[in-house]
């Protein structure tokens, strides 16, 4: 008896699950209706929009540069966009889903996984950002207290802003700051802590390596967190130098002195099976605002 009842409950539960699928999906979502069979591209399919979290430096720069904002600068990214707070999840999602579109830092782009599309005909490369044909870029900031008394931190900053430091920047695929002079530091002994944005961190790692060659006496610790933690910790004094992949907010700029150490491009990425090679700024905008939901309508 009970056994039968139990089985009945189970089957009702599973039927309900199926029913939930059946009568659901009244919501308008433009995420991936890839009705085409596996492997074949179907342009009538819905676009799977993938976005970064609100407040992220990458998202802030992306929405601003592509105009995914209303008159009052409010973020208008469609609520149907998937959200991730992680560059590698973003790349995995786009590489697994034929109809997905996303955006990442040019320095983290792995072309074996995904394809970066041209924006208004310009390829996403460091040269194109430098000569101004690829317009989607944002600054990498480092910030320290104006009255910071740490000779290593000051000297390291001088190194970053020197010809040698900026060579590292361009070597890593970022765009260096235009006017710099040769490093003429004092190579003091001591230690300092650098921390903040995970976008800036890979570059900072290389800069620290290069700095250790010119100044073996210094020890620099790198902590990877995020832009906001980087700034607040620099204000509180637990980091000597904070990193941010966005502009400093007003309340942060009041306490810290920010310096742009490099410019990073933002690449718009699609799946490798996606035949789209070239998008205009307006097309990307209409995808992210949610006006265009299928690839053939782009």
């Amino acid at each position: 008896m009970k056994m039968k009842k139990f089985i009945a409950v189970l089957s009702i539960a599973s039927m309900m699950a199926v029913a939930a699928v059946g009568c659901g999906s009244k919501d308008g979502e433009d995420a991936g209706t890839d009705k085409g069979s596996e492997g074949s591209w179907d342009a009538a399919s819905a676009i799977s929009v993938v976005s970064r979290e609100e407040g992220s430096g990458t998202r802030g720069a992306f929405t601003e540069l592509f105009g995914v904002v209303d008159e009052d600068d409010n973020d208008m990214t469609t609520l149907d966009a998937q959200t991730t707070n992680n560059t590698s999840v973003m790349m995995t999602t786009v590489s697994e889903n034929e109809y997905a579109i996303g955006y990442i830092s040019l320095g983290s782009l792995d072309e074996s996984l995904v394809k970066a599309v041209k924006i208004d005909g310009a390829e996403a490369t460091a040269e194109n950002i430098e000569n101004g044909s690829y317009k989607v870029s944002r600054p990498f900031n480092v910030a320290m207290k104006p009255d910071l008394d740490n000779p290593v931190a000051t000297d390291f900053m001088a190194f970053i802003m020197s010809t040698e430091g900026q060579e590292v920047v361009s070597g890593e695929g970022y765009i260096p700051v235009a006017e710099v002079e040769a490093y003429a530091g004092t190579a003091p002994e001591g230690s300092c802590v650098v921390g903040g944005s995970s976008s800036v961190s890979p570059l900072m790692e290389k800069l620290i390596e290069a700095y250790k060659e010119v100044n073996p006496n210094a020890s620099i610790e790198l902590q990877t967190t995020d832009s906001t933690t980087g700034m607040t910790s620099a204000i509180e004094g637990s980091y000597d130098i904070g990193m941010a992949s966005r502009e400093l907010k007003d309340e942060e700029a009041a306490e810290l002195e920010g310096t742009v150490i490099a410019t990073d491009g933002i690449a718009v990425i699609v799946n490798k099976d996606n035949p789209t090679d070239d998008l205009s700024v307006d097309q990307v905008k209409s995808i992210y605002v949610g006006d265009v939901t299928t690839w053939d309508a782009v």
Partner: protein, 297 residues
């Protein structure tokens, strides 16, 4: 004699301090959460915060209803997948399992509990998400659903969470069933009941409070799970009617946005934590009530 009495007192003190540590930790977390979260809720407006379904921090719109619904969806989904499998597994382990299979089976369920949640998340992202996407496509082509979804969905999150809560449910249910005196079972068999009937009508009702405690602990784990969920749930802050579409959970909302949040946005995330904390309190409270009810019987 005297020195012995002194050491006894001293050790008693040590034990007392140790006992206080966890109470203190809970108290401090409560104070932190409420002191930071309540003012933010007030500033946003309690009703607006809890029932608003638009979450756009950059334009000062903080409504977490969609996240509350999202958390409830995936938790319910986890129960639908996890509880039947968990209970049936513990029936097998406690009543049917040959000794030879028992050891590896037990080790496997315990290992399941030890796998870090980020591994579950990555497994979900690489294996389950494409499967669910294909499943969605099949349904879409058959005309059963209007949108196929892209695999990052309530269904995916429910499946993974269902697996994650298995060890909790199996562990408590199995030990509760083993704690039932064997003469209940033998008596039932002696009265002519079949083995299955004895298990489901005698053993499980007798072990009810343990089973329920296991399920509720599983609910607690499912609602609090973060890392795995944010990798596979899509994290769209909006309410949906289809299990093939993504949602954002309360925990996911905090983790995803905490890194870059400042000012009221940050406080709103802490207030999200308050709501989550209240959920957990309700769950624990209901466990206590259920247990008391069971004891009275």
């Amino acid at each position: 004699m005297k020195s012995k009495a002194w050491t006894e007192k001293f050790m008693q003190g040590v034990f007392f301090v140790a006992a206080c540590a966890s109470v203190l930790a809970v108290a401090l977390i409560c104070v932190f959460l409420f002191a930071n979260g309540i003012p933010a809720m007030k500033e946003i407006g309690f009703i607006k915060f809890l029932t608003g379904d638009v979450w756009r921090p950059s334009s000062e719109q903080f409504g977490i209803l969609s996240m509350i619904v999202g958390s409830l969806y995936v938790t319910a989904g986890a129960i639908i997948f996890g509880v039947p499998i968990g209970i049936l597994t513990s029936v097998f382990m406690a009543m049917y399992c040959p000794k030879r299979i028992y050891k590896p089976l037990k080790a496997a369920t315990e290992l399941l509990a030890g796998i870090p949640s980020v591994i579950y998340g990555f497994f979900g992202l690489v294996v389950v998400v494409p499967l669910v996407r294909d499943f969605g496509n099949v349904l879409y082509r058959a005309g059963i659903v209007e949108k196929a979804g892209d695999g990052n969905s309530i269904l995916t999150a429910s499946l993974i969470l269902g697996i994650m809560i298995l060890p909790t449910i199996i562990g408590t249910t199995e030990s509760a069933m083993r704690a039932v005196p064997s003469h209940y079972y033998q008596g039932s068999l002696a009265l002519g009941a079949t083995k299955e009937r004895s298990i489901f009508r005698v053993i499980i009702p007798a072990a009810k409070s343990g089973v329920v405690a296991g399920i509720v602990l599983g609910i607690g784990r499912a609602i609090g799970e973060t890392m795995a969920v944010i990798m596979i749930a899509g994290n769209q802050p909006r309410i949906t009617g289809s299990i093939l579409q993504g949602i954002r959970t309360l925990t996911g909302n905090i983790v995803i946005e905490m890194g870059y949040a400042t000012g009221l946005h940050r406080e709103a995330l802490i207030a999200t934590g308050v709501v989550l904390f209240v959920f957990i309190l309700i769950i624990n409270f209901s466990v206590a009530l259920l247990k008391r009810g069971a004891d009275h019987e």
